[in-house]
């Protein structure tokens, strides 16, 4: 019931009460005309006044209660951090206030819900973006190539461990600094700047550049790419530095190898061709000379064959297609065979050749021809690199405790410098200082290493000092 209706009803009640009082007063005067009417004359206004006061007080309480209820509900809403509606019962005062208030609250709730869902969406997007950023960083950090990322002001944004190590900076302290303050290599700085300034029309290029890394120059293939924003503005540059030093070395080694091998192949071929022509031109005066020529042609053809076999063997072992015939082999027996073949060569050079061979009943499981080849290479190297009147000794023994048989080839020749030792088993590697002492393809020791370690699971080691000879030792497990 609204206040207006209440006021109307109250007015009606007042009029009715007033009417009743007037009627009562008229009756009293009609029946008791001499009764004092002054008291009655006061009674009616007093009654009317008290009735009005009562009604007003009641009405004021009602409004106060309604406002209190609305206040409490608003307080509760505030505490619950929610937008709810105000409940007002039909009879209560302030319905006219509560209704538009509720309408207003409803529209706030609607907006709030919309903002909340938008917020949730943004949070999800932010999380996805963070995860993607982390992902990208993980990719960059896991790349073994050095990667650096700069922004449109040529400031460092990101770099991986490889880049930190190569260029000598700490990402944490270098980030957001201009690259010319971080990278000392002027060419790299210039390349990054050029790539950025060329803009989106020039997004990718590959440059080969040598960077001095702790005193040793290394060659890098640098791939520079522009990061192009959707508005086609260049927002940065990614530089990936791939170390191609090893590839370059290998390419150079291959060229050297081809050159060495062709020289080695041409030498016996030259003899064969020359002696054949001599025979054709009747330059050999007698039968003995002719026989000598035939003999030379034959041995040079054998030498050519051996060389080709050597090259093929290495390539077969390396590609894993070599056929290995394993059988019990007597190491002292093999060494004896080698020494029989090599001793004329040693004698020719005036070298003393010693051998200390352990009893023959120790055997190893191995490919006889390969072990023969390995021992032959070690012994002929020792002879090649030992000057006249020097000595070469070959020892075969057994370490029963370790269950191995070993073969040691030592000489008192040229020796190997400390810095060359780690490389002597590398394919095609030749010690420059010893180049003048003897010819070679740089394949002999590579082959020995392959035969002993790759094929037979043995161990090959070397001790040497420049000018004081070398000792090569290999060991193979003995058969129980």
């Amino acid at each position: 019931m609204t206040t207006a209706k209440r006021v109307g009803l109250t007015g009606l009640a007042v009029v009715a009460l007033g009417g009743c009082a007037a009627y009562y007063a008229a009756m009293v005067i009609a029946y008791k005309p001499d009764a004092p009417d002054a008291r009655l004359g006061y009674l009616i206004p007093v009654m009317l006044a008290s009735l009005t006061v009562m009604i007003l007080v009641g009405f004021q309480r009602q409004v106060h209660r309604s406002a209190g209820s609305i206040g409490n509900q608003l307080k509760q809403l505030k505490e619950s951090d929610e937008v709810g509606l105000i409940e007002v019962s039909d009879g209560e005062e302030l319905v006219s206030v509560a209704t538009p208030l509720n309408e207003y609250l409803l529209s706030i709730r609607k907006n709030m819900n919309r903002l909340r869902s938008e917020n949730r969406e943004l949070q999800i997007q932010a999380r996805i973006a963070a995860a993607e950023k982390h992902h990208t960083e993980a990719i960059i950090f896991s790349i073994s190539d050095a990667v650096i990322v700069t922004n449109r002001f040529d400031e460092l944004l990101l770099a991986n461990d490889a880049a930190e190590k190569l260029l000598g900076f700490q990402l944490s302290s270098a980030v957001r600094k201009n690259i010319d303050r971080i990278v000392s290599d002027g060419t790299l700085v210039r390349l990054i700047r050029e790539t950025r300034s060329h803009g989106s029309s020039f997004t990718r290029k590959v440059v080969e550049h040598s960077i001095d890394s702790k005193g040793t120059p290394r060659t890098f293939s640098i791939t520079l790419s522009c990061i192009v924003a959707p508005d086609e503005e260049v927002s940065g540059v990614v530089a990936v530095l791939h170390d191609v030093t090893r590839e370059k070395d290998i390419a150079r080694m291959k060229t050297d190898f081809v050159s060495n091998v062709s020289h080695e192949l041409k030498t016996p071929l030259a003899s064969i061709k020359a002696y054949v022509e001599m025979l054709m031109d009747d330059e050999a005066e007698d039968e003995a000379t002719k026989a000598e020529f035939y003999e030379i042609i034959s041995t040079e053809a054998d030498r050519l064959h051996r060389l080709i076999e050597n090259i093929l063997n290495i390539s077969r072992i390396e590609s894993g297609v070599v056929k290995v015939v394993r059988e019990p082999v007597s190491l002292p027996g093999v060494v004896k065979q080698v020494l029989d073949v090599a001793s004329p060569q040693a004698k020719l050079k005036g070298l003393k050749l010693f051998s200390h061979l352990a009893p023959i009943y120790y055997q190893v499981e191995a490919d006889h021809d390969m072990i023969y080849q390995a021992v032959m290479n070690l012994v002929s190297n020792a002879i090649k690199y030992t000057p006249q009147n020097g000595q070469v000794s070959v020892t075969v023994g057994v370490d029963e405790r370790r269950g191995i048989s070993f073969c040691e080839v030592s000489d008192d020749g040229a020796g190997i410098a400390v810095e060359e030792l780690p490389h002597i088993f590398d394919k095609f590697y030749r010690i420059k200082a010893n180049n003048k002492l003897a010819k070679g393809t740089g394949l002999g020791l590579t082959l020995v290493k392959h035969i002993i370690e790759t094929v037979h699971d043995g161990k090959l080691s070397v001790t040497s000092a420049e000018g004081n000879g070398s000792t090569f030792t290999f060991e193979l497990p003995v058969i129980n």
């Binding site: 050159s259 062709s262 020289h263 041409k266 030498t267 071929l269 030259a270 003899s271 064969i272 061709k273 020359a274 002696y275 022509e277 001599m278 031109d281 330059e283 030379i296 040079e300 003048k436 002492l437 003897a438 010819k439």
Partner: protein, 129 residues
């Protein structure tokens, strides 16, 4: 006309043997060396009329040998030709500087060696006259 003396230097015994025999049969006097140092010593002591040298030899390459020859008055004018399997390793400027008059590639023909020797000696002889 006196017999011309030719020094052949090669570390490969067979090559030394075959070249020597071909030239000896053609009437030349032959001396041999098995490495660069020995060849240099023989050039100084024997004054050959022509040097035929290998490129890759112990102690001193054929190129180093010829360069050394040009530094001394006694050996400066000894004409030289090279017999090598490594012709591609030598720059033309280096050849020019060491005054190497001809290069024959291994494998070679002894006939061609003889022909070249005759040519070179004829040219040098003509220049000296």
């Amino acid at each position: 006309m006196s017999v011309k003396k030719i020094l052949v230097a090669d570390d490969e015994a067979h090559i030394l043997h075959v070249v020597s025999m071909k030239l000896r049969n053609a009437g030349f006097e032959i001396i041999t060396a098995v490495d660069g140092e020995e060849a240099l010593e023989l050039c100084i002591s024997e004054r050959p009329d022509l040097l035929i040298t290998d490129f890759q030899m112990p102690f001193m390459t054929g190129l180093e040998l010829c360069t050394q020859l040009r530094r001394q008055d006694a050996t400066r004018d000894i004409p030289a030709m090279m017999l090598t399997a490594r012709g591609f390793d030598i720059e033309p400027e280096e050849m020019e500087a060491a005054k190497i008059l001809a290069v024959l590639a291994k494998p070679f023909s002894p006939r061609e060696v003889l022909q070249k020797v005759n040519e070179l000696l004829a040219t040098v002889g003509a220049e000296q006259e």
